[in-house]
Point group: C2
Chain length 333, copies 2
Amino acid sequence: MKKLINSVADVVAESVAGFAAAHADIVRAEFDPMFVVRADAPVAGKVGLVSGGGSGHEPLHIGYVGAGMLDAAVPGAVFTSPPPDPILAATRAVDGGAGVLHIVKNYTGDVLNFETAAELAEMEGLTVRAVTVNDDVAVEDSLYTAGRRGVAGTVLVEKIAGAAAERGDDLDGVAAVAQHVIDNVRTMGVALRACTVPHAGRPSFDLGEDEIEIGIGIHGEPGRHRVPMAGADAITDQLLDAVVADLRVRAGERVLLLVNGMGGTPESELYIVYGHARRRLEDIGVVVERSLVGNFITSLEMQGVSLTLLRLDDGLTALWDAPVHTAALRRGR
Amino acid sequence: MKKLINSVADVVAESVAGFAAAHADIVRAEFDPMFVVRADAPVAGKVGLVSGGGSGHEPLHIGYVGAGMLDAAVPGAVFTSPPPDPILAATRAVDGGAGVLHIVKNYTGDVLNFETAAELAEMEGLTVRAVTVNDDVAVEDSLYTAGRRGVAGTVLVEKIAGAAAERGDDLDGVAAVAQHVIDNVRTMGVALRACTVPHAGRPSFDLGEDEIEIGIGIHGEPGRHRVPMAGADAITDQLLDAVVADLRVRAGERVLLLVNGMGGTPESELYIVYGHARRRLEDIGVVVERSLVGNFITSLEMQGVSLTLLRLDDGLTALWDAPVHTAALRRGR
């Protein structure tokens, strides 16, 4: 296994420590238990936003901690849900008196551990609400999930809910905005090559040299089907058609188009996918009003891409455009 | 070959078209000949900055076109210098009457083609100066280079010279700032796994499963030596020791520490490298005043990392901190 790591046991803690040192103007890290929090947390009177999940998807979630997005992120072991204890500690750390929203990707372990942490927090007198992101149209139920998985749409939920919290919406309002994003966002991905989880030491699945997996999960869990390698346009069509059909996007509607790299995909290839998807959308009369192209939720060094559409309205677009200052996403100010 | 492309011949043009569509608020692309230019170019009275080189290193250079950085970038074929014609066209397009600075990475083809373009531009009455970036301490001369290669330091030259041009420095002034960065920046990289150039169809070099190459070039050209795979700290030490020795950084000095991923390296690993390098620098009394961690100059999907130090002074730090608005680097405003 060729990885720039020292020991399998220390991967996440060493990485989080490096991250916090590099971005000390934005965040600080706690290690007992481990979470990353805005340097100025808690922000009095503001709803606190906490997300988290298995590591290996960077920059998600720690890269999105900062003004206008998350107040804290809880990294678990690689591809492993964080336990309730650090989620509880992060919840306490961001409570500014206006309540805390948990943004949870829909994996069974994440959902359970965030629920437990929320119950413990409520017993301490905190007010906690949760939303569950389930944007992956590829499959119902999966290795680690009842219902649909939460994938790249999570980035958009975190940005837009973060903007709502920053402008002063109350807990119900921020939760409603987050749910509105969830209701209008859909994603599907494809893998060309698997990644290797450090504690496994070998690729998480095998794909033939002329084979790709459509609908791959972000942990390499099975998608819809394996098909022969094809050109970028044909692969993009398969992702886009599934997302458009599920979201029921129609002519005249406006969308945010997110093309996300899974970690080992050259940026040039992401823009080829983006270009074709955009043309296809324009052909059916859909307006690509906002775009995001790059590595935003990865699976270590997996080669592949996911395509996400968020149906926009004036309110969502304004929140998307609001200033944000995190390690991985910056806009305005 | 598993790549998200349609045909080998169209990789760069399709990717640039997608890039320009995604970032139409910042850039526009020309295709005959091909270059990417600020949407508001030429900026009257401002020195124009043009860079370019072989594609496959994205976001370099097209991702750095925008306010506060480059005015235009000229992408060649993958790992192939662009010919003089598009460089000349880009030079014309950014001339706002204050002259144009070419920022050239030190590869023989790039240097020759930029020189030819500059001569042609001068014959048309434009004023052109050039600086050559040669920050790679790994080797003197190489497959494509007389002298040292230009690598990740180029990103810092482009940012800081771009800030100098934006504040209104004249052509001599901007060139002097760029040269000051070049004089104070050094880089060394390591590869764990090669990338595959589309028109070659196979990995550009072979490394054993337990072997890495120290001092790798950004086109996979040979570095200093191949050594057995080691832990991240030990690998980081080899890069850092070489850079510190060559730059002669001393206790009390301030630096910018850039840890750059080569395209296929998980972000978590970059932060492990960063964390160790920072501690080592602090141990010898060097102040890490600014940091940059991520994929800034890649080699397609190569797995590896480079480490760059820029010796800072008040002037350079202020220019580094100045607002920038490009696809790949944003700060302020």
